[in-house]
């Protein structure tokens, strides 16, 4: 099936938002999605954007029964390793179920790797839920290593009340 990968435009945020929700449903956490296309528009299309996004589009004759031609996306941003330097983090990679197995996911991920390498990034990082075997297998097949299993890395997080409390204790300037 013919498909095209291109940089997302502001107008694509409604489709990206739709697919973010579809991915959250797949990850069994739809109630966790708190942002809408408005935040995506504000945060991805300013002079210093918080993220970049690529979308996968199919020609009109392959659109979904609901009329969508945007059938996949990858959302990523630049990070920094104090050991190795510039890196890229792939926050989301998603292809609508009917369009899987056609190389679209691989195409999106390869494009992020290419963009990263052009910007002199030396790492591409992401996270996967431990029960998500299809995705784990996909990434390992692409050469990714599971650093949690291999080296013992854990992600920790402050949010909500714990983040407010921590911030209140900052020294005065």
């Amino acid at each position: 099936m013919n498909f095209k990968v291109r940089a997302a435009r502001k107008e694509d945020c409604k489709d990206i938002s739709r697919m973010i929700m579809e991915l959250a449903v797949y990850e069994k956490m739809p109630d966790q999605v708190k942002i809408s296309h408005e935040e995506l528009e504000r945060d991805g299309f300013s002079p210093n954007p918080f993220y970049e996004c690529l979308i996968a589009e199919v020609p009109d004759e392959h659109k979904t029964k609901d009329g969508y031609t945007i059938v996949g996306y990858v959302l990523y941003f630049y990070t920094y390793s104090t050991w190795k330097g510039r890196s890229v983090y792939m926050e989301d990679l998603y292809v609508m179920p009917d369009f899987r197995g056609k190389g679209i996911g691989k195409g999106l991920m390869a494009k992020v790797a290419q963009v990263g390498v052009e910007k002199q990034c030396v790492r591409l990082q992401l996270s996967v839920l431990d029960w998500n075997k299809p995705s784990l297998d996909f990434y390992v097949a692409k050469g990714a290593e599971d650093l949690t299993a291999k080296e013992g890395w854990h992600f920790l997080r402050f949010d909500g009340q714990s983040l407010d409390t921590l911030a209140k204790e900052a020294p005065k300037d």
Partner: protein, 171 residues
């Protein structure tokens, strides 16, 4: 002990590079560090910087025997959660051993949280090695939770030849 926290400047990169190596030694991976002072200067002080830094400084009378007054740092950058929006990632938090136990680490981390909230972030994320019990205990005591243990997220990475092959579409 008196100390002050401020945003890092280009001139701080030499001390930050020094402390990055000290932290890598603590994490038992000194040979892994490839970033130099020059790269820090290039990557942290451009129009769209790859990171931001804050440093902890002590007054002259508390300098180390080598004469260092910059005794701790935190390095962070902005990230994005497709569910929650703007977020912060704290890449490094470090205080020189003889300056620990004085609230400097906590002050650095709180400052990062404050800066993040001011920028509209709703999460402060970071990573810790599972054997690093002193750090894990410190962070958990400050109120964070373990996303890997509680939610099952694993960190994955592509680098070196695997990254090159992926970029060329060869996998």
């Amino acid at each position: 002990m008196d100390f002050s926290i401020r945003a890092s400047t280009l001139e701080d990169c030499k001390d930050i590079a020094r402390m990055i190596l000290e932290l890598a030694e603590y994490e038992k991976v000194l040979d892994q560090v490839k970033v130099t002072q020059k790269e820090l200067e290039q990557d942290g002080f451009i129009k769209n910087p790859f990171f931001h830094g804050i440093v902890a400084e002590v007054p002259e009378q508390h300098r180390t025997k080598e004469g260092h007054a910059k005794v701790g740092y935190a390095l962070y950058f902005y990230t994005y959660s497709s569910w929650k929006g703007r977020a912060l990632y704290m890449e490094d938090l470090y205080v020189m051993p003889e300056f620990r136990g004085k609230g400097i680490g906590k002050a650095l981390m709180s400052k990062v949280a404050q800066l993040g909230l001011a920028a509209g972030c709703t999460q402060l994320n970071f990573a810790v090695l599972d054997w690093n019990k002193p750090s894990l205990d410190f962070y958990l005591s400050q109120g964070c939770f373990d996303v890997t243990a509680d939610m099952g997220y694993h960190c994955m990475r592509c680098e070196g030849a695997a990254l090159e092959q992926l970029a060329q579409g060869d996998t």
